[in-house]
Amino acid sequence: MLFNSFEFLLFFPLVFLLFWFVFQKNLKAQNSFILLASYVFYGWWDWRFLGLIAFSSLVDYICGLKIGAAEDTFKRKVYLGISLGVNLGLLGFFKYFNFFIDSTVQMINTIGFQANPYSLQLILPVGISFYTFQTMSYTIDIYRRKMVPTKDAVAFFAYVSFFPQLVAGPIERAANLLPQFFKKKVFDYGLAMDGMRQILWGLFMKVVIADNCAVFVNQAFNNPESQPASNLLIGAVFFSFQIYGDFGGYSNIAIGTGKLLGFNLMQNFAFPYFSRDIAEFWRRWHISLSTWFRDYVYIPLGGSKGSKYQSLRNILIIFLVSGFWHGANWTFIIWGGIHAALFIPLYLFGKNRINIGIVSQNKALPSFYELGQMLVTFSLVTLGWVFFRSPDIISAVGYIQGLFDMSIFQKPQMDIRVYLFIILVLIFMMLEWGGRREEFAIQKMAFHKPILIRYGLYYGLVMAVFLFARKEQEFIYFQF
């Protein structure tokens, strides 16, 4: 079920009303209902994969209890190994099996031997990359004695399958989300209103920005060799907004939906396109994934504690793994490699933590220097996205070559509506800039203005969502 679908428009109000009016009596009823709603939500896409998520939850529930109960380190390691093995096994099988087979066959053929391609017709279960990471964080944290296992199976299963963030994150840590299932929810007007605003902003990002940019992005990327560089430039820049609108929008809808049910999910995007360098970008982009890799891969590898060589190796590993997490394609690995290459110089010169705070915190506008920094960072990120969006490396290289052509000064050969969407993207960025000190752009926007102005803003955004909606478009991150 998509957040931007008619089904969800019926499903969620029903869940909301039942949750607060029928199942509010006790915690067990609330959690059981959340679990049921989550399984309906997931099963709507393909009920056959419900078994997979139930299996993953069961394994981690049992392993969590066993790790918690065992004092013997070996036993604890065994159960952790089972948990990691099952989750990574599922992920590896469904997501990476064909990639490894194809790559191996290609390699064998390249060195002169003959091997026949063999691949399985596998459907990638939606959200598998997200919920497997979420459950792994649970068993790892228990192993590290950072949390105690829960015996409440309903709460645990509901935590793993919590529908607002099940299929595309944020990837919640057990330490943040699971305890929220142990407290009976009481309706909080302020939180619910905040949730509504966040959903509205998420829908605007997805429906108005991402889905409409996608039209021009597809035109540019589907046939780049026959288009002027000006088209390719628009395609690349619009893809930056498409992917942000799509994924950031999903996260906002997910977090807002959680708030309407009384849950607080972690912030996943913090205005990444106002970053002044790549290091800052990675502190602001897909925060739940980057901190996951930091805590469960980078730090266990030694983080920045060892020698310079070890630190560089660790940085390279997490960027490549992060790229590979996004998909079974070399383009994603190269994308990770590009970001590593951009990050490493900052690290070597000790500049990776100089831009920590919010840009122009106490000013209305950035300085020219800050603006320049943001534009350079955005341009580098956009070049990286070309690899992310292209079907293969050769196409990506061809696309980038195509950008460096005199035809960049030509009038774009695109539908006239492109100018309308350039204006919309600019308005979007202005709103983002105005709200950059908050969790999401319109969280407190116009709070101190007359009520007509504030509600006028919401009205405008709702109308934009209605008017610019295209037929249901899937979220890009569903495929990861």
Partner: protein, 307 residues
């Protein structure tokens, strides 16, 4: 909680009311089919695909035929994809017809595509390609605002309804069902567009086959419409390049139509034999001037056939 729900309810009213207002503004410039499902039930219909939708102008027919039949005609033609003869189109046009009408008239335009199918078994109506499209899914075809169509089938984003008020339109679905388009919308020359159409239809030729079942449904459609008034079978003129492709698809097409014409005692007008040179935008769809002339010519032929 109550405060939250009341606030939400009150706030929702304003955007929903505005959206409703936007829907009211759609007058055939944003979507090529929507208005066909918002106009009242009719007593006389033009049926067929896009050639008829663009090529037969109801207002021109009405000038000569309104007096004869006492009914204004409505163009209920769609496209090759949506409205070939079959159970879906028959059911939809039945809904569009005024149940009490007995003296209407019906221009049934035909070509080999309208009784052909591109599915593996062209005689299995359960698999007909139009079963999953809007004509099959829309229950009410005469509602003031057709929300089923607006929400599920409207071909563009709703902002286009407003945008079309600001920029020049190259197409418009008139209130009588005529779909007016100008050649400018395609932006190339007639020979280029015709070549594109030839390529397009040559590709179709590899997929489409004559369907006995569709032919039967054409017969059923005629039988049904004869209970509602007079029926005229029409094959619209085409450029020779496209005509050759049609003849290749079904070399016996004209004999089939002549057979039907005799079977039901209805006139069959085959305008490709005519000496008049019609002008086309793309070899298939007539230019505005030709559409006007052709509609006038057709109405004269219909009148003649009744003498």
């Amino acid at each position: 909680m109550n405060r939250f729900l009341v606030k939400l309810f009150i706030f929702s009213f304003f955007p929903l009311a505005t959206l409703y207002g936007v829907f009211l503004l759609e007058n055939g410039t944003a979507d090529p089919f929507y208005q066909r499902f918002t106009t009242p039930k009719q007593e006389a219909l033009i049926l067929g695909n896009s050639k008829a939708a663009q090529g037969i102008i109801p207002a021109v027919l009405d000038q000569k035929l309104f007096q004869e039949f006492g009914a204004k005609i409505y163009n209920y033609s769609f496209t090759v994809y949506n409205s070939p003869y079959g159970p879906v189109y028959l059911e939809s046009l039945t809904k569009k017809l005024d149940e009490n009408s007995k003296s209407g008239y019906f221009v049934i335009t035909v070509d080999p595509w309208s009784i052909a199918s591109d599915i593996n078994d062209p005689d299995n109506p359960d698999k007909f390609e139009e079963n999953g499209r809007f004509l099959a899914k829309i229950d009410k075809v005469n509602s003031g605002q057709n929300f089923t169509y607006l929400f599920d089938w409207f071909s563009k984003s709703y902002y286009e309804i407003l945008l079309m008020k600001l920029k020049p339109n190259f197409s418009k679905l008139h209130s009588d069902g005529w779909f007016e388009t100008t050649a400018d919308m395609i932006g190339t020359s007639e020979p280029e567009r015709r070549k594109q159409m030839v390529d397009f239809y040559n590709d179709y030729l590899t997929k489409y086959r004559y369907s006995e079942k569709r032919f039967k449904y054409l017969q059923k459609t005629i039988e049904f419409l004869q209970t509602k008034g007079s029926v005229f079978l029409v094959r619209l003129p085409l450029h020779q390049d496209i005509l050759e492709i049609e003849n290749e698809l079904d070399p016996d097409f004209d004999s089939r139509m002549n057979f039907i014409s005799q079977q039901y005692e209805i006139p069959y007008f085959e305008f490709n034999d005519s000496k008049i040179k019609w002008q086309f935008k793309d070899g298939l769809h007539m230019t505005l001037e030709s559409a006007r002339d052709f509609s006038d010519h057709l109405s004269k032929e219909i009148l003649l056939s009744r003498k």
